[in-house]
Amino acid sequence: MKGRALYLDGVSVVFDGFRALNNLSLIVEPGELRAVIGPNGAGKTTMMDVITGKTRPTAGTVRFGETDLTRMDEASIATLGIGRKFQKPTVFDDLTVFENVELALKAPRGPIACIRWHLSGEAADRIGQVIAEVGLTDRAHDPAGILSHGQRQWLEIAMLLAQDPELLLVDEPVAGMTDAETEHTAAMLVSIAGTRSVVVVEHDLEFVRALGRRVTVLHEGSVLSEGSIDHVQNDPRVIEVYLGR
């Protein structure tokens, strides 16, 4: 179990007068699995962007343990141990499943290090293990471009696992998945959490219920409610803006 928590304190992001995030504060404890829900435009994706360095906050602090994330770029934040899975799965289509995971595998990231990189037996075993975890062993040497949508989602999760991050940000992992795939994914995320922190952004309330952990509801860029799924589902403010419709 690793020991760094994620702190967001008073974070605001303003695009041309539009407040995508408005004084958002959030703490994710080490090893916690947190679900974040909210209607469209609530600022879920912007929050992810701020944490991973894609968007600079207009105000507020974002810390991972003692490290200030607001001054770092995407690559350094990723190297620090924060992994992100996008809503739309993006993998490298021309590379095989194996090569995709190989690139994600925790290792020095500089050009020279990459040139001198030699695939050791240990690394190959680790890659094989991660691929097996997401159930893609049969496809290991197929180009990622020919995988199905669900398989691409899993490959992305495999890449995240190979990255060995302390904190995983997962954006709508089950969008477009079948029920069986959804269940499989929920089980996978629950098993991942505990050894590392996971933040899941999701629309699918059944999925969030299946996760069975603490839920944060965002609305108009700030936290509307926080607690167990039953707590937030009964919160009158949440019902008004989100669930009531």
């Binding site: 990723a78 996008f86 490298f92 021309d94 190989e102 990231r109 040139i115």
Partner: protein, 367 residues
């Protein structure tokens, strides 16, 4: 791991491919030798063929360098001709210094154009170019430094795609304008010419021609081997990943600016090397080499051959230039139509280039 899984048919094909390449290199290597046969011999090869092939070999190195940047790293440079020309100018400066007192004005130190323009001293940036090793260093460092600066500024501010292309085109355009100026100290409009010797070898003789030919061929083979080894490392795969989904690679923790910069600088140095080998063979270098049209032509070699495959780049350089050499004498008015048509045909009908026709596997997508 991927090598261990390759099936036997694949490795046979690879063996045949390598044998084909080796055969092509041997065939090229035979040309200067066949040139020494008597003129009425059936296998005699004319001076023209040797010198024109020597030029094409240099173009092939340029194509390789561009393919490394474009085909693998996704950096479509429309200014690679600038790196080629800078390498050529560095070599030209060495050759000018070797003329010594044999110039038309007979000045012991200053090249003719400096005497003509009223220089009294050699400008500081000309110092040291009389030494071959120093000049060779500059052949690599000057294009590399330019690529480093331009690349750093561009990649850091995430200028990609067509913006980057236009920027590189502007770069070579600006350099062309600058080199046309007399007060730059590079001979202005006329550039450098009337070279006498290189490494003690009088230029323009059959011996020098053959020596330069072999030097270029060795450089081509070496560059090819280096590039192909490089692209098979994890670094090569990182470049492919950056080309296809740069932002994803960044979220995986790859500092894409550094990776692209590394590839771009390496590519620029290779282009500089090509230019340096080219100049003593054609005997002249002038600001026209910087013209954006030259860079674009290099792009079409790579596109025609098949980008993202090193063989394709080399094949493209040879085939397009062969076509150009034939057509510019057979039907000069047609050449630009054909060249323009090549752009249209290769983008619409043959996105994987000639290599695609032979069913070669290209590590790339049609974007």
């Amino acid at each position: 791991m991927s090598a261990t899984l390759a099936d036997p048919a694949d490795s046979r094909a690879r063996l045949g491919f390598r044998a084909g390449l080796a055969g092509a290199v041997l065939l090229l290597a035979a040309l200067p030798a066949l040139n020494t046969l008597p003129a009425d011999h059936a296998l005699h090869v004319s001076d023209f063929i040797v010198s024109v092939t020597g030029k094409w070999i240099c173009y092939a190195i340029l194509a390789l360098s561009l393919d490394l940047a474009w085909g693998y790293a996704g950096i479509l440079s429309l200014g690679h001709g600038a790196f080629f020309a800078l390498g050529g100018y560095a070599m030209g400066m060495h050759l000018m210094r070797l003329i010594g007192p044999r110039g038309a004005y007979g000045h012991p130190v200053l090249p003719d154009f400096m005497v003509f323009l009223g220089y009294t001293d050699l400008p500081w940036f000309w110092r040291g170019f009389e030494h071959f090793p120093y000049a060779m260093l500059m052949v690599l460092l000057v294009p590399g430094a330019l690529a480093l600066v331009v690349g750093f500024l561009a990649f850091r501010s995430r200028i990609t795609g067509v913006y980057l292309s236009i920027l590189t085109q502007a770069m070579t355009y600006a350099l062309m304008l600058a080199f046309f100026r007399n007060d730059m100290g590079f001979g202005g409009n006329n550039g450098f010419t009337d070279f006498k010797e290189l490494l003690g070898m009088p230029l323009g003789t059959p011996g020098a021609r053959a020596a330069l030919f072999y030097a270029s061929l060795i450089a081509l083979v070496a560059s090819f081997l280096v590039c192909s080894a490089l692209t098979r490392t994890k670094y090569g795969r990182v470049l492919t990943a950056i080309r296809d989904a740069e932002s994803r690679a960044r979220f995986l923790g790859y500092d894409t600016t550094r990776h692209k910069l590394f590839a771009f600088v390496l590519s620029a140095m290779l282009a500089g090397l090509a230019g340096a080998l080219y100049v003593p063979q054609v005997g002249i270098i002038n600001p026209g080499e910087f013209s954006p049209g030259n860079s674009i032509e290099a792009v079409i070699w790579v596109a025609v051959g098949g980008r993202g495959t090193l063989v394709g780049a080399v094949l493209g350089a040879f085939s397009v230039n062969a076509l150009k050499t034939w057509l510019t004498s057979a039907a000069p008015d047609l050449w630009l139509f054909v060249l323009g048509g090549l752009f249209v045909a290769v983008t619409l009908l043959l996105p994987r280039g000639l290599i695609g026709l032979f069913g070669g596997r290209r590590k790339g997508r049609d974007a």
